[in-house]
């Protein structure tokens, strides 16, 4: 009964109001993409969310929302069962057929382009804000982010050194490192570091010898990858990693994945954090 009345009100709202007003008043939104969920919360609209994808793990409140699965492998009926008014999705969300089914069932989808740059984050905030009818809040957040980026990037530019680093993605079955055109590579560049694996594109397995030869000054990794490798103590006895300057100088930087590589509103902090950690204790 309650559900059907809510449906009725939502339908009436959609009929009576111009579409942007309808969106602004839409109470049931699904966010697909960790960065998008973070932006929705940063705009103060977290209470409108009724669902999220598997990668939406921040803030803590998001974890309590129903999880519709990995955002590239969605299921139409699962999403519709949450009765969303509309969906804000990362551009990579899909598959396309499922998105078309959802749209055919009368649920709008706002797609947000993704790119690994500060400018792209500002653009994402603007689009999400518009979708939620929170233009003023979005403008304010954009201004704050821009200010933070300016400060952080100026600080990074002042560093004269360019530490050599690698981003270790997964240690469970051999080592896998981030190459060009990855979120990890973009973060290293923003933090004023040089990626030692810049000869290939994407995330690829690397041999123990190649890691030893690349001699990174620092190793950046996601917390779960460090856990998979058995923690920092285990790294010291790893046949390849222990040969690197990074291990000798104990410069292992492990951060939560969504914070480090999510490109959400915490991105300026993450860049600054990474830039400082890369140079911690260095001369």
């Amino acid at each position: 009964m309650i559900v059907s009345r809510r449906d009725f009100i939502a339908a009436a709202a959609l009929l009576l109001l111009p579409s942007w007003r309808a969106r602004a008043s839409a109470r049931r939104v699904i966010a697909l993409g960790g960065d998008i969920t973070e932006i929705v919360y940063a705009l103060g609209a977290g209470d409108r969310l009724v669902g999220r994808d598997q990668t939406s793990t921040f803030p803590e409140a998001a974890r309590a929302l129903p999880d519709v699965g990995y955002y590239r492998n969605l299921s139409a009926e699962g999403i519709l069962s949450l009765k969303p008014d509309f969906i804000i999705a990362a551009a990579a969300a899909g598959p396309g057929n499922v998105l078309r089914q959802i749209e055919a069932a009368g649920v709008g989808i706002v797609q947000v382009p993704q790119d690994y740059a500060p400018k792209a984050l500002i653009e994402k905030v603007r689009i999400v804000g518009e979708a939620l009818g929170l233009q003023a809040e979005a403008n304010a957040l954009c201004a704050r982010l821009k200010q933070k980026f300016d400060a952080v990037l100026a600080r990074v530019a002042a560093f004269t050194d360019k530490p050599k680093a690698m981003v270790l993605m997964n240690g469970a079955n051999g080592l896998q490192a981030a190459g060009l055109n990855t979120a990890a590579h973009a973060m290293l560049s923003l933090a004023g570091a040089q990626n030692v694996f810049d000869t290939y594109s994407g995330y690829k397995p690397v041999s123990f010898e190649a890691v030893a030869a690349a001699a990174p000054d620092a190793i950046v990794m996601m917390e779960h990858a460090l856990l998979a490798l058995g923690g920092e103590e285990k790294l010291a006895s790893h046949p390849a990693l222990r040969l690197t300057p990074a291990l000798r100088n104990k410069r292992i930087i492990a951060r939560e994945g969504q914070y480090l590589l999510g490109f959400g509103p915490r991105m300026p902090e993450a860049v600054e954090d990474l830039a400082l950690a890369l140079r911690r204790g260095a001369g």
């Binding site: 669902g51 598997q54 129903p66 999880d67 519709v68 699965g69 990995y70 590239r72 492998n73 969605l74 299921s75 139409a76 009926e77 699962g78 999403i79 519709l80 069962s81 949450l82 990579a92 598959p95 396309g96 057929n97 499922v98 078309r100 089914q101 055919a104 069932a105 009368g106 055109n181 990855t182 594109s201 994407g202 995330y203 690829k204 397995p205």
Partner: protein, 360 residues
């Protein structure tokens, strides 16, 4: 005198036995069909969105995609049910036909490279074509993967066929071995493409390799389901010839079966049928292997029952697996590849244990 009395009696006994067997088989096929019908109705009724049965019925009868519930029933659930039935049936049936043809209980579309060939072409289109010929991919749109998968399956079958020729005749053993080699080559090709792929491509690839019916859209599944069903029907007509092959190839020839033509027919029909199914569902293993065995354990090796029975059992397994995939972890969904084995394997083992001991 004695003999004259005994023989009619024995004959009557055999006729009676044959009659009872035929009756039992008819009962099996009938009950499988009823199960499949009930399961289809159940699959249309259950899902993450709760829709009362009478509304489901009204939607199907009215065929009117007016409100959201009707769209969910007609555009999301029904295509999945149709696809599960068509793909499950063709996988089970091809497994039965290939096992019969190769006289090998392990033969199935997955083993001789048909499914892997399709998967290889899909990997190729995801990883290489998107860089080399993006305009072609854009033009094919949602048809791109199905088209490439069918091409791959058919190429694998054609290669098996060409490599299996010995002195002008087709050798079952050579075809089987060639199929295994092609399977391995396609698998290593997929492995290499996985290495080349970007993170995004890799994820698309992985999900496709696990199989899923969630992408079913009418415009894609109708051609695929029609082709799979046509191949299934055509395969059904080979029961007598496959029965003769059970005795051995030479014996089948003596019985008047054109064994080479039979091989040709079954190979081509399996390639087309599995290619069509794999093209829209991704790789779904195990059904082709296990469905025929389940039927054989229940009703014996006569292909007149193994062929239709495998189609029904295959469809039933896939339909049950897909229904569980949809409702197990709402609002998310489980990959179906996990479930076909999780459901089929324990049932198969149970049947194997109980039936084997019953026969002894």
């Amino acid at each position: 005198m004695m003999a004259e009395r005994v023989i009619p009696h024995e004959r009557a006994g055999f006729a009676d036995l044959a009659c009872r067997l035929r009756g039992a088989r008819r009962t099996l096929l009938a009950s499988l069909t009823i199960c499949l019908g009930l399961m289809s109705i159940l699959a249309l009724t259950i899902g993450p969105v709760s829709i009362p049965f009478e509304r489901v019925l009204a939607a199907v009868i009215g065929w009117n995609k007016a409100d959201q519930t009707e769209i969910i029933v007609l555009s999301i659930r029904l295509p999945r049910v149709v696809l599960a039935l068509a793909a499950g049936a063709v996988l089970g049936l091809c497994g039965a036909a290939l096992q019969g043809l190769f006289r090998n209980p392990l033969a199935d579309p997955g083993l001789i490279g048909v499914a892997t060939g399709g998967a290889f072409m899909v990997a190729l289109s995801i990883v290489v074509m998107s860089a080399v010929a993006p305009s072609l991919l854009a033009e094919l749109g949602p048809y791109a993967l199905p088209v490439f998968a069918s091409l791959g399956s058919f190429a694998a079958i054609a290669a098996v066929y060409a490599l299996g020729r010995r002195n002008g005749a087709l050798s079952s053993a050579d075809m089987l071995l060639a199929g295994i080699a092609i399977n391995a080559m396609a698998a290593s090709g997929i492995g290499y493409l996985t290495f080349l792929s970007t993170d995004e491509q890799l994820r698309t690839l992985t999900f496709w390799m696990l199989g899923s019916l969630s992408q079913s859209a009418w415009e894609q599944i109708l051609p695929a389901a029609a082709l799979a069903t046509a191949c299934s029907l055509a395969l059904m007509f080979n029961a007598h010839a496959l029965n003769a092959c059970l005795l051995g190839e030479r014996e089948a020839r003596y019985l008047g079966v054109d064994v080479d033509r039979l091989k040709q027919r079954i190979i081509i029909l399996s390639g087309l049928g599995v290619g069509a199914a794999v093209a829209v569902t991704g790789v779904i293993g195990f059904i082709g292997l296990v469905a025929p065995h389940i039927v054989r354990l229940m009703a014996g090796a006569d292909h007149r029952i193994v062929l239709p029975g495998s189609a029904l059992v295959g469809a039933l397994i896939l339909l049950i697996a897909d229904s569980i995939a949809r409702i197990a972890v709402p609002p998310a969904e489980l990959p179906i590849g996990i479930l076909t084995s999780a459901i089929g394997a324990p049932f198969f083992l149970w049947l194997l244990k109980t039936r084997r001991s019953a026969i002894q």
